[in-house]
């Protein structure tokens, strides 16, 4: 198995989860309802827990420890898609991003359950329950607010339109794509995107929202090769603030 190809795949999965986990955790204490604040914070913790599990795989492959990898890299060393680093905005944007990303994430892990790389297929089975909740949560909210009031529908529609170019950036292909597919590690971004479009359509058609025409939306690529928006570095600075003051601190 090509180690560089495998590491690249693991980094992009783990970085997506860490960055979105951190972003979503910014809602803790500010959520729209007490119960929703708890649910959204829990899912943020799930994502950070999942990223930790993938960083541990990277440590096994000779990379540095999870904390070092998470807290000491600069923005241009991160492989996450740009969707996950965008500021939270208002709750409508955070919900739409949660829906678009988590649908892709759950499908990715469903595919990884068949991976020839055993640590990935084992982890996929372990986190299936968490992912079921995340997509159930996203779908329920989108169906609820996507058919509720004029304000909720137009807010979600605007966020959906704004987020879509970034969401398509999730599926930026790696130059190791072919090898990853032929070695059976992961069935590839194109296959994932195909499944994702069908899931997204299925939910959106149950609401009064309109899915933008994906053929004419230009994807925002670059995240997978370290090109990021101006929003990632400030997030990293904030996330690593304590670690940089005292790497041995426990909190």
């Amino acid at each position: 198995m090509n180690q560089d190809a495998l590491k690249e795949l693991l980094y992009k999965i783990a970085d997506d989860l860490l960055i979105l986990g951190h972003r979503n955790s910014e809602w803790t204490g500010f959520g729209p309802l007490l119960e929703e604040d708890i649910a959204f914070s829990s899912m943020a913790q799930d994502k950070i827990g999942q990223s930790y599990a993938v960083y541990q795989m990277l440590t096994e492959l000779g990379e540095q420890s999870p904390d070092t990898v998470a807290f000491t890299r600069n923005a241009n060393q991160f492989h996450n898609c740009q969707l996950v680093e965008l500021p939270n905005g208002e709750y409508d944007f955070s919900l739409i991003r949660h829906f678009l990303f988590d649908t892709a994430d759950a499908l990715r892990w469903e595919m990884l359950a068949q991976s020839s790389y055993e640590p990935l297929s084992l982890l996929a089975k372990k986190i299936k329950g968490e992912l079921r909740y995340h997509t159930m949560h996203a779908n329920t909210w989108i169906k609820q607010l996507g058919s509720a009031t004029e304000e909720s529908i137009s807010r979600l529609q605007n966020s959906l339109t704004a987020a879509m170019p970034y969401a398509l950036g999730i599926f930026e292909e790696s130059h190791f794509e072919k090898g990853i597919i032929t070695e059976g590690v992961f069935a590839g971004e194109q296959e994932l995107k195909k499944r994702w479009v069908s899931k997204i359509e299925n939910i959106i058609t149950q609401t009064q929202l309109l899915l933008p025409d994906l053929k004419i939306v230009a994807p925002v690529f670059g995240g997978r090769i370290g090109k990021h928006s101006e929003h990632l570095q400030p997030l990293l600075d904030e996330m690593s603030e304590v670690f940089k003051i005292d790497p041995t601190a426990e909190w």
Partner: protein
């Protein structure tokens, strides 16, 4: 707003906050949790939500994010028939009389409060014509020789259950001790901080 939390500084400036109209709130839903297979469901608390499905969604994290359990269900508070509450040696069932029989048949879930101050526990399911009829019928089935201080009845059709395929919701990564308050060892840290700052610990700070 001044705060050490950078997230607070980033909050959008809101203008004047107007109070909501009175009663402009979500309704409540009752949440029941099953700790282990074979154990009865127990009432854990209530949740605010706009509808039954949202209530299920929010109940799952609010009531089961830390503790192991195998199933959860929710019902609209308005669909819970509540008996009178009794004390001492009087059972709530003693105050229930037979209802006129109707035609509508259905299954009803019965919950008992076996001790004041505890939670309602699922006692069983009865076929009946109405919630009131179910409460009457439950006495001989589930309460012989017992003192029950309060009874709840919920029509089965009005409950959002966990489906068989949803049971893996609680099959999650175990390495999440950080969700538990005990993992932060607050007492130990305070002691260490006090000894480092060399302040005499008078114990009545």
């Amino acid at each position: 707003m001044n705060s050490l939390d950078p997230r607070v500084a980033r909050l959008p400036q809101v203008g004047e906050v107007k109070p909501k109209k009175s009663l402009d709130q979500f309704g409540t839903f009752e949440v029941f949790v099953q700790a282990k297979e074979g154990k009865p469901f127990q009432h854990e608390g209530a949740i605010h939500a706009p509808n039954l499905e949202m209530a299920y969604l929010l109940a799952k994290e609010t009531f089961t994010r830390r503790f192991t359990c195998v199933s959860v269900y929710v019902a609209d508070t308005r669909n819970v028939l509540v008996s009178q509450t009794t004390e001492g040696n009087q059972s709530a069932y003693e105050l229930i009389s037979k209802e006129d029989e109707g035609d509508d048949q259905g299954a009803f879930e019965i919950y008992h409060l076996p001790k004041r101050g505890k939670q309602h526990v699922h006692a069983g399911t009865v076929e009946a014509n109405s919630s009131r009829d179910a409460m009457y019928r439950a006495k001989d089935l589930f309460a012989l020789g017992k003192i029950i201080y309060n009874i709840w009845v919920i029509e089965q059709d009005k409950i959002r259950f966990t489906s068989a395929e949803e049971k893996d919701l609680w099959n999650t990564l175990p390495e999440k001790k950080f969700r538990d308050a005990s993992d932060y060892k607050g007492g130990d840290k305070l002691k260490e901080f006090l000894s480092r700052s060399q302040l005499p610990d008078t114990g009545n700070r």
